[in-house]
Symmetry: C2
Subunit: 903 residues, 2 copies
């Protein structure tokens, strides 16, 4: 026997439940079909019908839109059975059965796929409907809607033809509103619509619709039904559905089920109604029935917003609907207890009788998710662990940043990538300098740049938000903004920036943003708005606090933060970080300090170099003092200088162009000579592949003065704080280690320096020394390396680069976006840790513990703030993840969920 393709739901003619599925079968029946079955099984009033499986959809599609053998017969069998159960026949002239044909995939894809209502109407059954309803206007209106919907949705006829015809009719009759058209008018329109159908449907494509050499609207309900089902199947692969799935990471091979269900009508007078509802408030999570209804209306009217809906709690105040309303409230409780979660419901009351059309677990805001989970735990409905797992970690981002206020009205002038969450309003400025100046005057700004560079950092800090026309979600602007928790919209192609003129035109509009014009950006949606949008401030709610405390109790893996300055350190602490997992010291080398390090790099003699080193040491010592103080009692991992030195220098290409210009302009010979020497020096630091070159510990090995200076600054700050009664806990991290000898060499420099400071300050310092594991060689030889390390921190950003042979730049440009689109990669490997990279991390942890059983292992880098990655790291058995301060709450929750899942 072949596979079962159709499943009935609802009762038979004797009131006996003949449902064949249940809620567990969503992979077969889709979410809608499985829950219709579940409701029927619970004894709830569900209009009878059947579901065609998702697998049938995929087989049909994969065979090039050809029906699997026997499938249609199975469908006709179930259709006849439905007619029997209802005691009505489709297309019947006396009492016709009308059905809806709806899609229903395993995951909700709202509005993405097709629906056909009122199927079964034809020139015969229209009479039956008139007889049964005694409402010819309703009947003709239903027929005209069916033809319109069938033509548009199933046959792809442009909907404008029908709208035009309706408008023509209204003009002819001298009326303004559809509702003013009479039954006769609508009957006329049915004929007009049939004509449109004949004219615009291609007879060669649909030979079965040709009657007497002309295409005709199909009168055979079976033909209507088959076409409608095929259309729903086809809609699985329509463009908007494909894009939606890609965005939501839904598998293309799931397919959609098709639900064929008896029509019920909420528009049969004052005893009829229709509505949508939630069992709790999905906005704030309060325990109250929530939703809207309309009396004497169809479902689509509630959603369309043409008529003013009433709140669901008022339903029972309407006498004619009171009984149904009470039953509905009871069902709310039944469903919530059954699904143990807040449910989202669609219902219709037809002439006093309540029908349940859909239920599913309801979507909710982050605030609501938190509140509902905490309350349900309190009610005993769900366990503590379940409560923790009920909140999506990613949702927490909403709570930690200001948002456009819920009711605010605005028209975006452009849209970019939602690179860093939160919304900002401020005057547009076009340079970091201007942002800083404005800040000094107390003005709020949005920094608008083509793309940001490390030189823009002061401006990025001064501005409320960052807006760039180039670069993607891992561009400099995006990464830094997320790190700072600043809103950022990136890659707004439409923004044509002229930084010299301090203005930006918006392509396709005549809007020009000038310096000082107020703009608003929403880093959650990517919207850019000209003018001010009202903001709702972020709040660290009581619920969030409770939830995160629960999370910390459940988690086994700790969460630290990446922070490079005292302010971020404090923020991390406030967000519950248990330490600093990564302090990137090069981020301390900005502004004035950048000049000092340039002097060090380009120094011609020992004296100049020593002076620069001393200046750097003094500055760093101050930085560390403040950082360690802010994190008093908690570990702070300081990474020694990492980037290639040329990053601190000017660009050779620009200088060479300048040099060529100087020569032609006849600049003095000695100036040219000096420039040449400077260029040679700069070029001597350039590298063909800077990511694969002289950086990380290699710098420290070539210039031992640098780690010596940094170790001294760290030790001195620590010694001072101990003398002052604090409990500083610094750790020194050596970057980019590939061999044990590198780590050993760097370790010795640090240990000697620490010992010197211990002597100078007469104090005992306990400063663990460890390494970043960010090269494949380090991961596969971790057993050796661990012998010289007190801790490992996996630098999964760089590890991803070398493991894949990608650079991060590739994520923006060229092939990585194409790879993700074409499914050559499941997702951006710099956002969610890749399987191969995770394997290397696992190997590193296991081998590392072989080499040093006391080894502490963590991960720093953006993956530490990605819930899916956090789960993998928990499985691998890391001690902690470290992420940017604003991702700390999210990571705490993700760590807890990972621990619970792994139980």
């Amino acid at each position: 026997m072949s596979e079962k393709r159709v499943y009935a739901f609802g009762k038979d003619q004797n009131g006996k439940n003949v449902t064949e599925g249940d809620t567990s079968m969503k992979w077969i029946l889709g979410g809608k079909g499985a829950n219709l079955a579940e409701m029927a099984n619970l004894g709830l009033p569900v209009p009878p019908g059947y579901s065609i499986t998702c697998q049938t959809c995929m087989e049909y599609a994969n065979a090039g839109n050809v029906w699997p053998e026997g499938a249609l017969d199975e469908i006709w069998g179930y259709t006849e059975n439905l007619e029997e159960r209802m005691g009505k026949r489709i297309g019947d002239e006396e009492d016709p059965l009308l059905v809806s044909v709806r899609s229903g995939a395993p995951f909700s894809m709202p509005g993405m796929m097709d629906t056909v209502l009122n199927l079964g109407l034809n020139d015969q059954s229209i009479n039956g409907l008139i007889k049964q309803t005694e409402n010819p206007r309703f009947a003709w209106d239903s027929y005209r809607r069916f033809i319109q919907m069938f033509s548009n949705v199933v046959m792809g006829v442009d909907g404008d033809y029908f709208e035009d015809a309706i408008n023509a009719k209204k003009k002819e009759k001298g009326v303004k509103d559809d509702t003013e058209l009479t039954a006769e008018d609508l009957q006329d329109l049915v004929e007009v619509f049939k004509g449109i159908f004949s004219e615009h449907v291609d007879g060669e494509k649909y030979p079965n619709l040709v009657v007497d050499g002309k295409v005709a609207f199909p009168q055979d309900p079976k033909v209507q039904l088959q076409h409608a089902i095929e259309a729903v199947f086809g809609s699985w692969n329509n463009e908007r559905a494909v894009i939606y799935r890609q965005r939501e990471k839904i598998d293309d091979n799931l397919g959609t089920a098709v639900n064929v269900q008896t029509m019920v009508f909420g528009n049969k007078g004052e005893t009829s109604a229709t509505g949508v509802a939630f069992t709790r408030n999905p906005a704030n999570g309060n325990k109250e029935f929530y939703g809207d209804f309309l009396v004497n209306a169809q479902g689509e009217d509630v959603v369309a917003g043409i008529r003013n809906t009433s709140p669901i709690v008022e339903l029972k105040e309407i006498e004619s609907l009171r009984e149904a309303a009470l039953q509905l409230e009871e069902i709310f409780c039944t469903l919530e207890n059954h699904f143990r979660d807040m449910c989202d419901i669609e219902f219709t009351i037809e002439q006093g009788k309540l029908w349940m059309l859909q239920t599913r677990v309801g979507k909710r805001t982050a605030t609501a998710a938190l509140h509902i989970a905490i309350e349900m735990e309190g009610e005993g409905l769900i366990s503590r662990d379940e409560a923790i797992c009920r909140v999506q970690p990613d949702q927490l981002d909403q709570l930690l940043h200001p948002q456009f206020a819920a009711g605010a009205k605005y028209d975006p002038i452009a849209k970019g990538l939602n690179a860093s969450p939160g919304a900002a309003v401020g005057k547009a400025v076009f340079s970091a300098e201007d942002a800083v100046k404005a800040k000094e005057k107390g003005e709020k700004t949005v920094l608008v740049r083509w793309e940001t560079t490390p030189d823009d950092l002061s401006g990025m800090i001064a501005a409320e938000g960052i807006l760039t026309s180039h670069g993607g979600k891992t561009s400099h602007a995006a990464v830094i903004a997320r790190g700072m928790g600043a809103p950022c919209v990136c890659g707004v192609d439409a923004l044509l920036i002229d930084a010299n003129k301090k203005q930006a035109a918006v392509a396709g509009t005549n809007i020009v943003i000038k310096e000082g014009d107020v703009i608003s950006i929403d880093g959650m949606t990517g919207d850019v708005v000209y003018g001010a949008v009202e903001l709702a401030e972020a709040e660290l709610s009581k619920d969030l606090d409770i939830m995160l405390k629960w999370a910390d109790e459940a988690a086994t893996m700790k969460v630290r933060a990446n922070a490079d300055n005292p302010h971020d350190a404090q923020l991390s602490r406030d967000f519950g970080a248990t330490g600093i997992g990564l302090c990137r010291t090069e981020h301390m080398f900005l502004g004035k300090r950048k000049e000092i390090i340039q002097t060090f790099i380009l120094s011609e003699d020992q004296e100049e170099m020593d002076k620069a080193l001393k200046d750097l040491r003094d500055a760093q010592s101050g930085d560390f003092y403040e950082m360690f103080k802010a994190m008093d009692g908690l570990p702070v991992i300081v990474r020694l200088l990492d980037p290639p030195l040329h990053e601190f220098l000017e660009n050779g290409r620009e200088i060479e162009v300048k040099l060529a210009t100087m020569k032609l302009e006849g600049a003095p010979k000695e100036r040219i000579e000096k420039m040449k020497v400077f260029l040679d020096k700069i070029d001597s630091f350039a590298e063909a592949n800077p990511m694969l070159g002289m950086r990380g510990c290699r710098l420290g090995i070539m210039y031992p003065e640098l780690p010596h200076m940094q170790a001294r600054a760290i030790s001195t700050a620590t010694a001072k704080l101990i003398k002052e009664g604090y409990n500083p806990k610094p750790e020194i991290m050596v970057p980019l280690v590939s061999t044990t000898q590198e780590l050993d060499t760097m370790r010795k420099v640090c240990e000697e320096t620490i010992a010197d400071v211990e002597k100078d300050y007469d104090v005992k310092l306990n400063i663990p020394i460890g390494t970043m594991i960010e090269l494949p060689r380090a991961a596969v030889t971790a057993d050796d390396i661990a012998k010289y390390a007190d801790f490992f921190s996996f630098g999964t950003n760089d590890l991803t680069q070398t493991t894949f042979g990608f650079s991060r730049d590739d994520v923006e440009a060229e092939f990585v976006p194409k790879y993700i689109q074409d499914k050559l990669l499941p997702s951006n490997p710099f956002a969610t840790v890749d399987k191969g990279v995770a394997k290397l991390v696992k190997m590193g942890v296991e081998l590392g513990h072989q080499g040093n059983p006391k080894l502490e292992c963590g991960v720093c880098g953006e993956h530490g703030g990605d819930p899916e990655s956090v789960k993998k790291f928990n499985q691998i058995g890391l001690d902690y993840v470290s992420c940017s301060p604003f991702r700390v709450p999210l990571a705490r929750l993700a760590a807890a969920q990972a621990a619970i899942e792994q139980k």
Copy 2:
């Protein structure tokens, strides 16, 4: 009891052998000491003595030149024992014992460390020596030599003082030659030398030598002995020894033994002689005694070449030495049979009595090594496997390239890196173009460049050899030259090239090499010679052929070659390659074809692109036709296009400089605009990290036209050859795969194209499709990838880059040389495969076979031609290695040795 530090060798006073060591103890006694012991055990006449262990040297050095407890007492004990055994006392006035003090490390380090002879002479024992020898001149000369040697070697006094004193004496006496000085003259010199000693030895450093407030030459033999031993220990760490060990990869922690041995004299008249000998001819391997001797002479005279030596076979023709000579020849046979190898021997005949001073397995040329191994196998002295292991694979390089003729005399004007073996003589040319022109005229040239680029390739092919002033052993010039088998000397800093003037000055000389001047280079030594040096041509000898046949029988791993053109393919076949393991198709895109690919990359419309593709396909099809034909019946792995596209384009920086110049020079606006557009296009292909970017299969995925074109060219060439009755065996290799999806995508393009060609030509094509494993991700997920691959070829060059996070450029510049020098790396990981990289290869092979049990695995890249790496690959279980054609014989031998070792 503490560790034994001193071992006796030779007989006691009763003629009983009291030797304590043997040849197996070279790690303790050094090579010399262990073999002296072995000879004594064999009953051969060895002057008695003792060896102080290597371990004592290291303890002494590691403690900061402090003697381990008890060590000196043990030495004094053995010294007394030696006096007893010899029946003589050191420093004795009647019959003094004289000893030599020589170094002897576990590995031969010729001339690197110190030796002191005639130790024990002082103002008393000189009288005893005169009495015993009845030769005052000999005695005073010995004393004068001893003071000179002790002062210079042990105390570090400049040798010139002594030479000056001798010259002054000769002038005073009006003689020209040392030998004309009388015993009295020499006695005077002894006093003068003592004065030099007193003047130049620092009394504060050596308080024990101060007598009456003045430094005096030590008269106490114990003091002499202790200082001499300490000097030999110290010489282990002198600069030249350290550099030598580094070059020869000898462990710094081995230390040297010290051999204290009774002096014997070959200069006691006509019944005395001294000589060095080999048991077979070390130049050609012929079975004949080989070496030189001098009658009435000391060992150093033989080596110094002041007197004309006689061939060893003539020794027995001298009546007074005949008996000793016959004994010596018998000993040659004894030693060869005992050591089962050719031996290198030093001997002295003192007044008719033969003494053996040293033996060891002798060094030999590659020709000799081959011949000796083959003959000894024939004699039954060694097994076939032993014969195979007797030849160092690296030595074969000598046999495959022309060399400077053995007797040729020349003075190098400069020295560079020995980048590619072989010697070349030709006229200096300074551009590829000039090399090509000269070739057309039939002239031989040496191409002199600052560094070569791919544009120089035609010139590199035309020239006899390549000489560069920059770049190291893995520079472009070096890599390409090795691939072509062309001699190359790289990085000759002293060469100051002015390519415009077509000349090169040699720093530190007044030589200027002008275009057309004949120069000679030796890629084996790095020598550069002004003028022509006589060359000895390479020959593929009969012995080599026999040996390689033996090797192929013993080996389990096959050897293929990397070849990119029909000529190299033929060469590979001649050298015994079993296929082409890597054909780099981008190497086919030179000259005219480079222009075509540029057109493709920069094409503005489809038509232009299609035309370029068609041209490329036609050209490639011809290339492949010839390659497959040359390799008829053997596999040829063709790698699809790999390098980033910008490598085919001009340099953006240069264009930008040109653009700036054009603007200032007032070039027409449209020319400037055009240039700008061109620059933008060029820049759009630039990458911050080209090694980590858009290259390899990523090109093929972004531009499916490229793999399609190449697959079509391969298939067409194959189809044509099949039609012509050949048996072409191409395989398609996809480069830089990191995910299964990449390989799957590329595989599909290739398979579809192959199927098309099968149809077009009505022929069945069997073209396996596999991938390079050259990214860590590919290695760790090889189980998945293997499901889509017929074969893996490990690209260990690139794998080394990403595993380490090095780029190959780093090997030249900056830190990698320092790493190797400071032992942060054992060797250049691009030459000998690294441990971590090998681990990834192993993982790749094991996982790969899990995914596809039929998977064929090989390695391409330079490691395939490195014997040490070949051994590791054999252990890992690869099916083949692939290397440049000239390394094929070497790899065949290495593969055999690896198989034998693994037995």
